[in-house]
Symmetry: C2
Subunit: 113 residues, 2 copies
């Protein structure tokens, strides 16, 4: 499903997984969630936006994840570099973050709807 | 969107981000992609399944990601512990993998459709 030529019009998913510093509190995480909740209304390029704490179903997991679906690779900056997203990263996420892994992948056509 | 009580019926997303070892080739990654492509037909609990190499849009990204949507936390083992998934992890992914971060998050209700 991802072996085709990369089309400029492809829908993409941005995924980011995070681990928190040992001193991060539940209130810190709630503040991150509340801040991120404001983004979909401000960034129309977000086709879907999901995020939250790890559910604790498996040992060894990271602590938090974000999955953002965007209408094209060209619209990634409209999310990642949006001033409010940059502010949330700087004020809420960076102070709590131990590690982060981000990836952008192409989604199959049927994910565009 | 994630502050509610955790419902046992909640749709969840499993996210995993990977970095590859330096000696991993494009053919190795194609083999991973082809192997993972066989899973949706074998695991009906997968509501959606997206994966692929990082598109190279941002510096510092990891190399590969998987996003699997499942109908409930209870169905996570139907995917993660499925014998074919376990075989692909062991034969195709583990030999190429440098690091992995996995998270499961709850999705809002509208993601269930």
């Amino acid at each position: 499903m991802h072996q085709g030529l990369r089309r400029l019009s492809a829908v993409i998913m941005h995924l980011a997984t995070f681990t928190w510093r040992p001193d991060v509190t539940n209130d810190d995480v709630v503040a991150v969630i509340e801040a991120l909740s404001s983004l979909p209304d401000q960034i129309p390029e977000l086709l879907s936006y999901s995020f939250g704490p790890d559910l604790g179903l498996r040992e060894g997991n990271a602590d938090f994840a974000v999955a953002a679906v965007l209408e094209s690779p060209q619209t990634l900056p409209a999310y990642l570099d949006h001033p409010e997203h940059v502010r949330i990263l700087s004020e809420f996420i960076a102070p709590s973050m131990a590690t982060r892994q981000a990836v952008q992948i192409e989604l199959p056509d049927e994910a565009a709807s």
